[in-house]
Amino acid sequence: MKTTVVPFGPQHPVLPEPLVLDLILQDEKVVDAIPTIGYIHRGLEMMVERVEYTEMGFVVERICGICSFMHGMGYCVSLESIMGVEIPERAAWLRLIWAEISRIQSHLLWLGLGADAFGFENLFMHCWRMREEILDIFEKTTGGRIIHSVNRIGGVKRDMSDTELAAILVQLQDLGKEFKKTAHVFGTDPSINHRLGGVGILSMEDAAAVDCVGPMARASGLAVDTRLAGKNYYDRIEFEPMVETAGDCLARVVVRMREIEQSIDIIRQAIEKMPKGDDQALEIRPRGNPQGEVFTRLEQPRGEVLYYVKANGTKNLERFRARTPTFANIPAMIKLVKGSDLADVPNIILTIDPCISCTER
């Protein structure tokens, strides 16, 4: 049979980020896919050579505009671990709340992009309209809609008053009720089911074999979630990872929809459990320069992110490495694309929620 090579990307309507897959086709079936990234590689890890560690956090949170808060948090947690700093309790709760708000906005953004990709434009608009409300919360509480800059090594820069937190919870719970209607459409619409159901199936065994992370792994039945380790106050929250077993594109949509509702509940628990009062310490400033190394793992919206930080007692770190969830999920994406129909490739790629910006740190 004649073999055809179709380049997917670096510019494609469903993926406004530069990723290239050379799709090797026999008839309409993809038999192999060769990835190329690096079109926008920014060398942020190289910047540790000339940017001081106190300023590097502001660079790290610019790895990605969607996971900005959690990149900043991961960097600060790493340095706090090396320097032996225990941040104030209220600061830890605030970080957890902002992290879960980030998860909601990321999933809403992705659901919108997904809807747009399979041709359901008003569903896309509903998802992004709801996401705007989340960005409003970010703007109100951090001053920034995309880049927040509230994380500091040793705590957080800004507080949320108790009345503000109560209002945010009401707003999120109202949004949760509204989102149920949108989730109902995703779950029951025949055209969505036709486009996503049974497409791009990743079995539990395959997901484990390619070291999948995040909603991608959970949609294939793997109950992996870095939050279960209980760090960063997640040990004080009652939650279970959202797991589906079908492993197809629709299961990956369902996991993310359920995680939006779960994040609202986690925020509720955090607000109830955090110490009350607006006059509490938010930051403990460490002294001196860091020395040592650490591996830090966090559960970002797209899955586990892993930071390696090595410090040598100077103002500049010796090494900083961020392994983002998209990087970890690229092998799974290649596995899924092989054997699929060419027409399903865009949806399959989109359902891993690829963030090339993160990968091209």
Binding site: G38, Y39, G43, E49, D211, G230
Partner: protein
Amino acid sequence: MDSATFLAKVGEYQKGGWRLALINVTTVMAPTAPKHGAAANEEDPDEPTTPAAEAPGVFEIAWAFAKGSDLELIREQITVGDAVPSISEFFGAAFLYENEIRELFGINVTGLNLDLQGQLYQTATKIPFSHQAVKARLAATAAAALAATTAPAAGAAGPAATAASEKNA
């Protein structure tokens, strides 16, 4: 590194249900040449040390494996040109990390199950974390810092010199 022992260790992690979380490399900019084996334990203050510029380039490689909340490492230190065996026969996702460390650090990874032929990243600097590239950047940063400290001093001397010449006039 002893490839057989290393691969046996990796195989144990795979059998134990661990997940490959990261392969990380650090370019070691050691002040003196590293010593190996028995020489590493010898203390001889009279022995001349090799300047950094002549020392062989050293990389630290860490293979990180995750299982639940646990993270374990296999660490190896290699010199430039040493071969590192691929672990993609045990962990299917390893090829991406291995192509990356080959392109960004110039590490010679052998036995890759998917060789991307240097096309994974489109970097402006070829092998940006090689010892030569890191040294060149550090030297440039140091030179820029020196220039920044001397420039304001010259600027400060300017008005003072002007004032002195006005006074003399």
